[in-house]
Symmetry: C2
Subunit: 443 residues, 2 copies
């Protein structure tokens, strides 16, 4: 039996999950997804995609989350995935080296045909989501770090494959092995495009790939092939290692819970959160003046900065992927809110300090991921902070209350936010279309 058939069987035979911790982790993921998405619905980039969807037309069946309207499933997947990841405010998973929920939940919601009468229950939905994360994280482990380092954007390359698993599970489709192959042969996304709106588009495209793959199979097209073929399959082409661990201990624990999702309260790359937290501590303790600073060292565990492709950013939007930009702004106590990352050139005083930054690497015995910021002043004093677990990362998680706060800020209406929060917590025993129809015109 081929590896891909075994994997498809494992997925499809997974019982709906009862474990409270796992279900709780999934609920938190859904809440964070809503917060990240709703925060981005009125962004001008979101409006451009929406305008395209309106121009294109089509039979409306799926929820355009936050837009009080429906669109085709493929369109909904694209827009929902795009807006969920637009502000880089959505969750991250260490094994994925990317953003799983923007793709998987966008695809899952888009897969629900609001014109059909089928009932879909929340526990199955949450289990489908857990499975999607699982596939994405296991593929990430099989491919990384070489895949990511070569230049691939794992959110994009792994997201579609993970999302077809989630969709097939949710709707009990019997063609997952073929859906894997069809999604794998469309897997794409380059990191060179980070710092443009195409990075968030990757999440939408991956979700759309999943929807399109499922639709084509539903219409009778076939994709009878082993996408994990050892010579020419997905992992052989996109990676270096083998796929031995893909099947091991399926269901004994779940990646959504261990190592767990990383939630964000900021709109820059999570790889920069280490230096942000370190620099923040230094700012709180010292409040440096710009003129005092002689040199700033940014020290990473090996490859800890590979997502941070702009050591010398020219535009603020590139600052999302610049350790130097984030560290310097944090050191000076300047805001790093959503409005910062615009298309304007980086201010000269920030650029001047960025020029004083130097990256270096240090491998610790435990291969613990960390970053440190070391500031040397002109009077030869120096100060250092080191961070292993930035705020929001799995070992330093946000409370439910902080998550609620993130949601309420995005929803803007306290009563509605509270209701949405409660309804997501009640997910397991409720019907999803009832939920969607309740919020379709209210969010």
């Amino acid at each position: 039996m081929t590896l891909s058939r075994q994997l498809a069987d494992l997925v499809m035979q997974t019982p709906e999950i009862d474990n409270k911790d796992v279900i709780n982790a999934a609920k938190r993921g859904v809440i964070d997804f809503f917060a990240a998405s709703l925060h981005a619905i009125n962004e001008k980039e979101t409006m451009k995609i929406k305008q395209w969807i309106i121009d294109e037309g089509g039979t409306p069946k799926a929820w355009l989350l936050g837009h009080k309207t429906k669109a085709t499933a493929a369109q909904a997947a694209l827009l929902n995935g795009f807006q969920a990841h637009l502000l880089d405010y959505d969750d991250v998973h260490a094994d994925v080296r990317g953003h799983p929920s923007a793709v998987i939940l966008s695809a899952l919601f888009a897969s629900i045909d609001l014109t059909s009468a089928d009932k879909i229950y929340g526990r199955r939905f949450l289990t489908a989501y857990v499975i999607g994360i699982e596939i994405m994280a296991r593929l990430g482990q099989a491919l990384n770090p070489s895949h990511y380092i070569r230049g691939w954007h794992s959110t994009a390359t792994l997201g579609g494959i993970a999302a077809v698993a989630a969709i097939c599970y949710l709707h009990r489709y019997d063609f997952l092995r073929q859906a894997f192959a069809l999604a794998a042969t469309q897997a794409a996304g380059l990191r060179v495009i980070f710092g443009t709106p195409i990075k968030p588009l990757h999440a939408g495209l991956a979700a759309q790939t999943a929807i399109r793959s499922i639709a084509l199979l539903q219409n009778g097209l076939t994709a009878d092939c082993d996408f994990l073929d050892p010579q020419k399959g997905f992992i052989a082409v996109y990676g270096e290692k083998g796929s031995e661990l893909l099947l091991d201990n399926w269901g004994s624990e779940w990646k959504i819970n261990n190592p767990g999702l990383w939630f964000k309260s900021y709109s820059y790359c999570s790889a920069a959160a280490y230096v942000a937290d370190a620099a923040n501590l230094l700012f709180k303790q010292h409040q440096f003046e710009l003129q005092q600073i002689e040199r700033i060292d940014l020290i990473f565990s090996p490859q800890g900065d590979s997502a941070l492709i702009y050591p010398r950013p020219k535009f603020n939007r590139q600052g999302r992927f610049s350790a130097e930009y984030i560290a310097v702004k944090s050191l000076l106590g300047e805001p790093l809110d959503f409005t910062v990352f615009d298309d304007e050139p980086v201010s000269p005083h920030i650029t001047a300090l960025i020029e004083k930054c130097k990256r270096s690497y240090y491998e610790e015995k435990q291969s613990q991921r960390f970053a440190a910021v070391k500031v040397r002043l002109k009077n030869d004093e120096f100060f250092q902070q080191r961070i292993e677990h930035p705020q929001g990362s799995p070992k330093n998680p946000y409370s439910d209350q902080a998550l609620y706060h993130k949601l309420a800020e995005a929803v803007k209406d306290e009563t509605l936010a509270h209701q949405l929060f409660e309804d997501i917590y009640d997910f397991p025993d409720h019907e999803i279309k009832t939920f969607i129809n309740k919020y379709l015109i209210r969010l």
Copy 2:
């Protein structure tokens, strides 16, 4: 100035082509594209995609070639590309190591908004097509053979990038550099899926990627990045070599003419055409009986068989990519027409002879691509034929009359085929929408 900006500038500044040989090569490409496409419009696989398009709906703007109707540009690109490549009856280009016209012409036709009043002339259209082939072939040279050998399907991975160049040139869009980046970050397609309907779907997906990239940029999304970045760009990630030759001697001669397109009169992979022609000669000379044959050697220049991934095909549809299947059927004088490559198991008498086939490789001084078939009989006699230039390949081309015959067979109506042939030959001075509207309800 980045490499991608230079390439985009070269494309956009290309004068419309006057050279008769080049324009003639482009016309022949268009005729072959119509023949391959129209041959496939009633296939059951085509109908499945068409049904999906009908279900999905949308504002009809672009020509669904051969279906007497319009669809959205993205849908038209998908269906047109799919049907053009469905029977593996469409053209091939050695530098591409794949099928350029199915992608480029499908995308070009889909890019023409039939609801707009803009006039588009045939010479610009043919020049756009020549440019598309040029980009695809130059990218192919930069990446291959390692790209193809690793497991990529060049038709899919290079097609979208080539097609955005053609579309931007045709419509004089000023964002080609960004379109390159947007298409490159969606480039995908694995050879492991050969022998399923997803191989032809790759051509449709690549054309659709081009259309979607253009539409997103038209709606104001930006993709400001160098897709040829030496570290993390397209060629660095998808290949091994550099991109030095991409810009050299632009416009001094054109790849569509030298080495030229390879047209097919059969529905299997062109890599198998060498053994087909050799085995055909052997059949004509000897008419072997099945029982006489002791052993069949298939001898290739190095990597000459890498597209032929089924040494032991189980189903007839896999025979399209099996040197053994094609050689054995040809040796026995059995038909290899469109109806052969179905989902049925390979007949036992063919399988028995396939078991006697052995592939080997021989590198000649000139690195001339070739294949030879050597049949050894049980009485120890042996017979051999060697082919360097199969029928239809650039150095052994079909006559215009043969191309007309291919078109007429697909159109099924002599008068209409004749008119279409003439109108394509008159392309350079005619308006394209007038042409499309003439054939929209007639083909």
